[in-house]
Each structure stands twice: as C-alpha cells, then as structure tokens.
C-alpha cells in the first residue's frame, strides 16, 4: 500500500474494527459477522452457569449399562479440538432450548458427524444449571432434558 494511502487507511481501519467489532456483541444483537469480534471474553461472572451436555444411552443398538455423560468424559476433554466439540454441543443445546428447530437441526448434524463417531447412537441432550463454587464443593446441579435423538448413518449393517 502506498504510504499516503496507508496514512488515511490505518486510523479509519482501527475505528471500523473497534466499532464494528463491538457491535457484534450480544448486547447489540450479537450479529456474528466473521471475522469481526467484540473481544467480550470473560466479561460476565454469573452465580448461576449453564452447561449443555449429551448423555449416550445406547451404541449400535445395545443399551449401555451406565449412560455416558459426554461432558464428564475425560476422553472428550482430551480431543484435539475440545473447544470446537464443546462449542457445537453447547450451541445445539441452546438452540433446542430456544425452540429454533432449523438451527438445532443443523447443529445436530454437525455434532453427530464430527463429535459422535459411532454409526448408531441413541442419546439425550441435557441442560444443567449450577453455581460453579457450590458444584465444585457438592457436585450438585439442576438438570432438564431437552430431547432424545437417534444417530443412524445406516453404515455397518
């Protein structure tokens, strides 16, 4: 870029990025306009947190003796991109709770294809609310079931 043009570009770009990024914050409607970002990281500390998780009930048609809580599974947290896996599950649960069927359907496809690797899985999606400090001490939370689903790719039969 020519130096004269850069002289005008830089302050305008910084102003655009700052204002545009802040407008993507959820308080302004949360319009997610990649790659703008509000940088609103850890700006809230609610005493009541929400966690969405999936509980696996059956794999390949066989009921599990003990259901598997995905968010409580060490292997899930050790996945190469845990953050993405947890993110898609969280957004899937939030879309179910909000009653947004189209978004929930799209996120379900992503969760089943990229996170649940078995071909046939029966699972339920749960919402947990808790106070982080109390849960840490007592392990207690409140739980609501948001729905039960079957993943069946039709493969392996």
């Amino acid at each position: 870029m020519r130096p004269g043009l850069y002289r005008v570009f830089l302050p305008l770009f910084l102003a655009f990025y700052g204002v545009g990024g802040l407008l993507t914050h959820s308080r302004f409607g949360g319009l997610d306009l990649y790659p703008l970002f509000a940088w609103g990281l850890y700006a809230d500390a609610p005493p009541s947190e929400t966690q969405y998780t999936a509980r696996l009930l059956a794999i390949d048609g066989r009921a599990l003796p003990e259901p598997i809580d995905v968010m409580g599974t060490p292997d899930f947290h050790r996945a190469p991109d845990y953050w993405s896996d947890a993110g898609v599950l969280t957004r899937f649960g939030a879309a179910l709770e909000a009653g947004d069927a189209a978004e929930a359907g799209a996120l379900r496809r992503q969760f089943e294809a990229n996170v649940l690797r078995d071909d046939r899985v029966r699972y339920e999606v749960l919402k947990r609310t808790y106070n982080p400090l109390r849960r840490r001490e007592t392990g207690a939370w409140d739980e609501v079931r948001l729905g039960a689903f079957d993943k069946d790719t039709g493969a392996g039969r």
């Binding site: 002289r7 830089l10 990649y34 609103g40 990281l41 947190e49 991109d81 898609v88 982080p132």
Partner: protein, 321 residues
C-alpha cells in the same frame, strides 16, 4: 467548527511515536524487519502445530462453511488437507521472503482460510482472531523490493509495523471496554458480575467444570478469592489502556511483560491457552523497535495512563544537568 476527516487523521499521526525511535532510523528499521520475519516464523510454527493434527481435521465431515471457505465441503478430507497446506505454505513463504508482498499476502490468505475452516464446525474459534488481524495488516506494510531503501521508505515501513502494534493493542482495549461496561451494568442492576469479589473464583471454578480438569493454580486462586477483585482490576487496567500504550514507546516492553504474564496467569488458572496471542503480543511489544534501549523506570511510570500524573507529582524525574 466542523472537524474534518483530514484533521482527525492528522491528529492521529501527530500522536504517533517518532518512527526513528531512540536508536536512529537505520537501526530501528533493521529491528522492525527482524520482528516481521520472526512474526512469520511464529505463524509457521502455529501452522505446523495444526498440520500435526491433520488426522483430526481430515476426519471432520459436516461443515457449514463461513464465507472465506464457501468452496469447502465436508465430504472428504481433501479440502481440510488443502487448507492446512495453504496455511503452512503461506507462512513458510512469508518467513523466507518477508519483504515480498505476495508472500505476506499468501500467509494472510492461508491464515484466513484456516481460521474460517476451523470455525465452520458449529462454533467460531476466537483464538485465531489476533493472528488473522495482524497477518492482514502486515500485508499492507509498504515495502519497495529491489531498491536500496531510502529514508522515507524506511519511515513508511516503520509506520506499517506500528500500525500492527496499534491493531493488536486495540483488541485488548476492546476486551477491557466490554468488561468495564458489562461489569458496571451488572453492578448498577445488582446482578453481581465481574467487578465483585467472587468473580474470579466463579470463573476459575466454572473453567474447571467446563474443561473437566482444574488448571494448575485453580485451587489456589479459589482459596485466595479475596485477591480476585484486585487482580481483576489490574487486568482491566492492562486491557483497557492497551491502545494508548502504542503511542508511548517507553511503555512497550513493560506492557508486553505485563500482558505476557496476564496470559500465563489465565492459562494457569482458567485452562485457556491463547498461544498465538501470547506470541504475537509478546513479540510486538517485547521486541518493539520503537522501545528505547533503557526506558528508565521513573520516566516510564510517569507515562502510565491515569496513574502517571501521580508518579510525576510525587516522584518526579531528576532534572537533567
């Protein structure tokens, strides 16, 4: 009297530090060119880190592509492999030839494709945003290859590097601004929030739950919760006033040290490893070509945002002979 755009642009650049720094134009320019090459070497390392996870990326199937990767499909791993190679190859090219605009553009393009690709599986990966922003601005650095650099070209190059510092620091100021506004709103409406003593302990405890394991210093941070608010206020200060630091070269290195320590603290208490952010802000500030060789603690403290006036008043720098 109406304020024109030209007037605002002139004011902005009038506040910018002297491109010659305290080292002289040639030495500052040389330091800046070394910084740019080191940046791309760091981007290459990050690309390699992800290339090592190729088996994971090629196994991703259901994609909702963001606009930069509209062409990608999740049907095969071919697109994932291509994107990983674009990221690594572009970073390689820029690390080898940082003066070539085509190489820097390739590095940005690879970074954009990769960042958009990994954000196309249900959640945007904000951890790559700082690398994306800085990689974009590095493309725009004015460089005339094939000719001996004249002084004016060197100054233009240095302004370009300073622009990248500004953008990186702006992101921290935005983070601080959102924390301050949200915290003030929650305090005013009686909803607790980040400006209350329990905030840090709540964050640390919740992070342990979300990640399934406590961070190394989580227990300590929760036990010492009385320190939570003072620590949070220091973080807020560091973040909120990050952008003004770009205009105060004497504070580049001290602020770089503080932000690196902040990232380390976040990693050890919240399990959040912003690897690329730590590298980028560390490099841009600790190796800032504009920072004086010896800042002088009293003079540096005198330039601190908000607090500097008290330092200047109660501990004035000795008068030079």
């Amino acid at each position: 009297m109406p304020i024109s755009l030209t007037h605002l642009v002139d004011r902005f650049w009038a506040l910018a530090p002297d491109p010659e720094g305290g080292l002289g134009l040639e030495a500052t320019h040389l330091a800046a060119r070394t910084l740019v090459r080191a940046y791309y070497l760091g981007q290459l390392l990050i690309a390699f880190q992800h290339l090592a996870l190729w088996n994971h990326y090629v196994g991703l199937r259901s994609i909702r592509p963001l606009w930069p990767v509209f062409w990608a499909s999740g049907d095969s791993g071919r697109d994932a492999m291509l994107i990983l190679l674009l990221f690594a190859a572009g970073s390689c090219a820029a690390a080898f030839f940082p003066d070539r605009i085509a190489a820097r553009a390739a590095a940005f393009f690879g970074c954009l494709e990769f960042s958009a690709f990994v954000s196309s599986f249900g959640t945007v990966r904000h951890v790559h945003h700082l690398m994306l922003l800085t990689s974009f601005l590095f493309v725009l650095i004015p460089v005339r290859s094939g000719r001996a650099a004249r002084d004016e070209d060197r100054r233009a190059y240095l302004r370009g590097v300073w622009g990248v510092q500004c953008a990186a620091l702006l992101t921290y100021s935005m983070a601080g601004f959102v924390k301050l506004m949200t915290g003030a709103w929650h305090l005013a409406t009686g909803q607790g929030g980040v400006l209350t003593p329990a905030a840090m302990a709540l964050h640390v405890a919740n992070s342990g739950i979300r990640f399934g394991i406590d961070a190394p210093l989580a227990d300590l941070a929760i036990r010492a919760r009385i320190l939570g608010l003072p620590i949070y206020l220091v973080v807020l200060y560091l973040e909120l006033f990050a952008l003004p630091i770009a205009f105060r070269p004497r504070l580049h290195r001290p602020w770089g040290v503080a932000l690196v320590l902040m990232h380390l603290g976040i990693s050890l208490t919240l399990n959040l490893f912003f690897l690329s952010s730590l590298f980028i802000v560390g490099l841009l500030l600790l190796a800032s070509p504009f920072a004086p060789a010896t800042p002088g603690w009293r003079a540096a403290a005198g330039e601190l945002p908000l607090l500097g006036r008290f330092v200047r008043r109660f501990a004035p720098a000795p008068a030079s002979l």
